[in-house]
Symmetry: C2
Subunit: 344 residues, 2 copies
């Protein structure tokens, strides 16, 4: 990739990961022009680095001359105002193994709750374009899953831990309602026998040590514990403010079916079917995309942490001003998507 | 203790512990009589067994002939209706190391939220005498604390784990807001630099193994994670139903200052000072006391699990019908309190 073609850098520095979004023009500058806008074609690129290795990230930026930002017109004048287009089939629900894309009426989008699951979890009430407030959060997030997971299973990475959890059985360590009430449902209070009464509760009395458990079972219990808890707290906050939609994003999810399923079931269970969890295909880069799309926003001139910009990606991906970007797969690191930028 | 003097047995069989309350008359039968009631003097006794060792409990009951229940009058006629008296200074708040007893106006007691922290957590909305509903709960309870604690620290018992946590420092493993934002408070969204951003989040990137951490630091992080989470979910549920008071009970608490402090801080933080956590001196035996005081209640003829009776102890300890039982210390296993029973 020719560094001179790279511009428009946005960073989201989190507790665990630095997410980086940048635009790389492909040289087809001003090939198109309509509605008084010049159009630059290129690709939107994504990269991530561990926050503790921030020097690698800075080196990457230096090497690619990303810090010389701004799209240059051939005449050398800079343009700062840009729009990224809407992404079709961005939001979906996930239940019983079925992914279902949700068509959102933009006139009926607000208010919604955005739950960003990073190392910790932030919950942001979004009332309109640029109108948002961090109303809640929880310290039990992706960092807890990976942190506890590493200590308990000796896994080295998030992916490894998730892969493990996929093959585990949480009933080995979790104490179920049926374990207490003798295997029968306890419908009077709405609890089935397979509901988890106490996460890791069986470890109390099994007389087993850590080594006696299969790491995959431990990973599975951990994933269910964290996902369930986030789903419950999100629902309670949505209820509190009368929010109909809950969007879940952040690197914890990463399009993983079991994670999404657990969160969906939690929201379904606690809301008695009245609320639905929705997921986003660009989850991991929400903050960076948000920063990217609010590039020329005056209010972003002073340094702000990622929480403030997290919700803008959705806003911008679903607003009226945007065209479709063709996206063929979920976004992950090292992936790029074709993209046009309108210069106005 | 003379087995023939023992009567009125009540059991609360939970996921981890069986709690047992029974009355032992001291032979001063009918020494007093007023308001048409005979009064039996004696002691209220408490015992607990591990649920997995239920045979020990049954043996204890058989040995003490507790299953021959009902207070016998000298003429051999049985009395079934009994009242236990109110307990003074039962409820208290705990904040900044200060225990403060709360005088509750019985005309302004309801509705309240009762949070029973056993292996799992049940949250019960109590609207009046006998009017209650299980509205929520969480699987992250005492069983999670001890279960995960055992796996992570090789502790053998709850007491040992709590003692450990007392000497630990959660900042070693928890990722704090200050760790992400460079040590400064982030007051815009109401987060201080010492707030926990991600429980166990530092374990992600420390490059340490479980053995490299001090068990006391792990125990402390675990205790804060669970206590915080319960406080938050309890507050959100209280808010949902407009409940002013939140009582916390169950064996998880056991009068432990740090636990109560963490729960109090969580409720204070999430409610922005508007709600207060309250604790009870008889926390561990709430369910068993409830069953005990509803001894002759027709609705209790069929077997019911402990959740249904949990709230009755408070009701009965604070209702109009009761006199004071002198209680000099917190109730724990093997402790007894002097008690009189009115036979009507």
């Amino acid at each position: 990739m020719d560094p001179t073609q790279i511009s428009h850098l946005a960073l989201d520095i989190g507790g665990t990961l630095i997410k980086l979004v940048y635009f790389s023009a492909n040289g087809d500058y001003s090939e198109e022009s309509r509605n008084g806008c010049s159009v630059v074609k290129g690709r939107l690129c994504f990269a991530k680095f561990e926050t503790r290795k921030i020097d690698d990230c800075l080196e990457f930026i230096r090497f690619n001359i990303l810090h010389h930002s701004g799209v240059q017109q051939p005449n050398g004048e800079g343009h700062d105002k840009l729009y990224v287009k809407t992404v079709p089939r961005e939001a979906f629900t996930y239940l019983d193994g079925q992914k279902k894309f949700v068509e959102i009426d933009h006139n009926d989008l607000y208010p919604y709750l955005l739950v960003n699951i990073g190392s910790g979890v932030s919950m942001i009430k979004v009332d309109g374009d640029g109108k948002y407030e961090r109303i809640s959060g929880t310290s039990l997030g992706g960092g807890t899953f990976l942190g506890l997971g590493k200590l308990l299973t000796k896994c080295k990475s998030f992916d490894e831990l998730l892969e493990l959890s996929h093959h585990g059985n949480n009933r080995v360590i979790d104490m179920l309602v049926g374990d207490i009430y003798g295997g029968t449902d306890y419908s009077k209070i709405g609890l089935s026998s397979t509901a988890i009464a106490s996460s890791f509760g069986k470890a109390i009395s099994d007389g087993k040590e850590l080594e006696d458990y299969q790491p995959e079972d431990v990973a599975r219990s951990l994933l269910r514990m964290i996902s369930n808890n986030i789903g419950q707290i999100a629902y309670l906050n949505a209820l509190r403010f009368g929010l109909k939609r809950i969007f879940f994003g952040g690197f914890f999810i990463r399009g993983l079916e079991y994670t999404m399923d657990t969160i969906s079931v939690a929201v379904h269970f606690w809301s008695r079917g009245e609320a639905k969890a929705m997921f986003l295909r660009h989850e991991g880069f929400l903050g960076a995309l948000g920063a990217f799309t609010s590039y020329n926003d005056q209010s972003h001139n002073d340094l702000k942490p990622h929480h403030h910009t997290v919700q803008r990606a959705i806003l911008n991906c679903s607003g009226h001003n945007f065209r479709h970007i063709p996206v063929t797969s979920n976004l992950n690191e090292s992936e790029t998507i074709e993209c046009s930028i309108n210069l106005v």
